[in-house]
């Protein structure tokens, strides 16, 4: 057993500890303490990383459960006599062969509990399900380690009285994973890759086509990631991406997972989004993209979500399929205050050949952008078009 595989065992071990704890330690506590279980597993992990390289266990999961359980008992009990008695009892049933899928699944639901904000739920999932250290999570979110530690302990305190057997909402779990994926990456932890790894794990536990839809969506987007930005971090629009840099192996896997999910005939929004991503991934160029089918999938998405943002994106696809006027007509009744409305409107005007209006709209969209890369990209679009409009200014230097 490689120590790299160790993190895959964490959710199962925490789940078992919490479940065992709620039965055994109930004498002193109303519910098993999620935070204590989680802490116990973290210290067992440290021991594992120290000892496994020279002394690998025959049964890694059993080893982790045993060591973490002892730690857990130490942590939650103050009565030394009772501790000795219960440890004796605990040593009797072997730690191996414990069915754990159910516990692991409940841990996912616990970490995505509705009492937590989505951002906090995502951080807790990274800690408890993915097994990242607080320092790694703090680095990924660009906050001090102490800040992240406080955020995680608040989250765990909030969950203290939540029973593990409460049914959760799978949609919430999927949203948290999707949020994780969208956090992107920084430092030594790539949150997108972590999200893919954890979603893959979940897809083995939960027989639900939307989980596979989400996994396919992540893979299909991740496959294009290298081509989305320049080495300097500038955005490259889909039309200008070097498609030879897309990860074809990952695309193939994503498409296969999506097809299996769609075959179950229980469509959900992640499957529909993945279908759109798959059609993009499949096209040799923007011009040769099956825009008609993409519009059809957007129609499904509109039906499933009724989201104005989806309608906005549908208008872009519609403009590719039926021409810019159709796209402009489709955004006419949408709220101009929607995020990225100005950017979409700019693009449609550019496509229509109205470069003056497009330049003004790109400039406005640039002011409204929520990320530096997006702001710079839109400002470049505005600059290119206004130079085309007024060639006399093309030689002017900024500042």
């Amino acid at each position: 057993m490689e120590t790299e595989g160790i993190r895959d065992l964490i959710p199962a071990v925490i789940g078992i500890l919490v479940r065992r704890g709620s039965g055994r330690v109930a004498i002193t506590r109303a519910y098993a303490d999620f935070a204590s279980a989680e802490d116990a597993v973290q210290s067992a992990l440290v021991r594992a990383l120290e000892t496994w390289p020279t002394d690998p266990p025959r049964d890694p999961k059993g080893w982790l459960i045993t060591v973490a359980w002892r730690q857990f008992l130490d942590g939650v009990r103050s009565d030394r006599a009772r501790q000795a008695r219960e440890e004796r009892i605990e040593r009797q049933p072997g730690a191996t062969g414990v069915p754990d899928a159910d516990d692991t699944l409940q841990l996912y639901f616990l970490c995505a509990h509705p009492s937590l904000t989505p951002a906090t739920a995502a951080a807790l999932t990274l800690r408890a399900v993915a097994g990242l250290t607080t320092r790694q999570i703090a680095e990924a979110y660009l906050v001090p380690e102490a800040t992240m530690a406080q955020r995680l302990s608040r989250a765990k305190r909030q969950l203290r009285d939540v029973r593990l057997d409460q049914p959760g909402d799978a949609r919430t779990v999927l949203r948290v994973l999707f949020l994780l994926f969208n956090q992107g990456y920084s430092g030594d932890v790539d949150l997108a890759l972590e999200a893919i790894r954890v979603t893959r794990q979940l897809s083995r536990l939960l027989d639900e086509p939307e989980v596979r839809g989400l996994l396919a969506l992540m893979l299909l987007h991740h496959a294009r990631r290298r081509a989305r930005t320049t080495p300097g971090g500038q955005l490259i629009s889909l039309a200008d991406q070097d498609r030879s840099r897309w990860d074809t192996q990952m695309i193939t896997e994503g498409v296969a997972i999506l097809q299996a999910a769609l075959a179950e005939d229980r469509l959900g929004e992640f499957q529909a989004q993945a279908a759109i991503a798959a059609l993009h991934a499949d096209a040799p160029s923007t011009a040769e993209t099956d825009w008609v089918q993409i519009v059809e999938w957007y129609d499904e998405l509109v039906r499933l979500t009724d989201s104005p943002i989806v309608r906005l994106n549908r208008a872009v696809a519609l403009a590719e399929a039926d021409g810019a006027p159709a796209g402009l007509a489709a955004i006419a009744d949408l709220d101009p205050g929607l995020p990225r409305y100005a950017a979409v409107s700019a693009y449609l005007h550019e496509k229509l050949g109205d470069f003056g209006a497009a330049a003004r709209l790109y400039a406005e969209a640039s002011r409204l952008a929520t990320s530096a890369a997006e702001r710079d990209h839109l400002a470049r679009c505005a600059s290119v078009l206004s130079r085309a409009e007024n060639p006399g200014t093309s030689g002017r230097r900024a500042g």
Binding site: P144, T147, Q150, G184, H221, A373, E374
Partner: protein, 135 residues
Amino acid sequence: MAKYLLLKHYRGGKPALNDVPMDRWTRQEVDDHVKYMGDFQDRLRDRGEFVSGEALSMDGCWVRYDGDGKPPITDGPFAETKDLIAGWMVIDVDSPERALELAAELSAAPGAGGQPLGEWLELRPMLTEPPTISD
């Protein structure tokens, strides 16, 4: 979570509600004000919302590149009319509403007569990396 910069100004901003200059506060009023700010920061730390913050000196100068081999030009110390930043704090919060709430709480720090200062604070969202998926 989104990061925001909270800026406190020495001058250059709009006048505070309780607009008595700090040098005319009593010692107790100053201490209470400073304690409020410290407590505020501690609460943010406990909630996992504090990223960083510092108070800035009144001294400072303007600098710019003015061609190779030439010394940078400065016109500091600051002229009376110029804006001057007293300190900054970076917070990482769940929503824009939460950022406004915290800014209002900081603005309510006690001033002269123990009444809320009601100073104007500048609140600026930070731009981040683009999400992997743009819709």
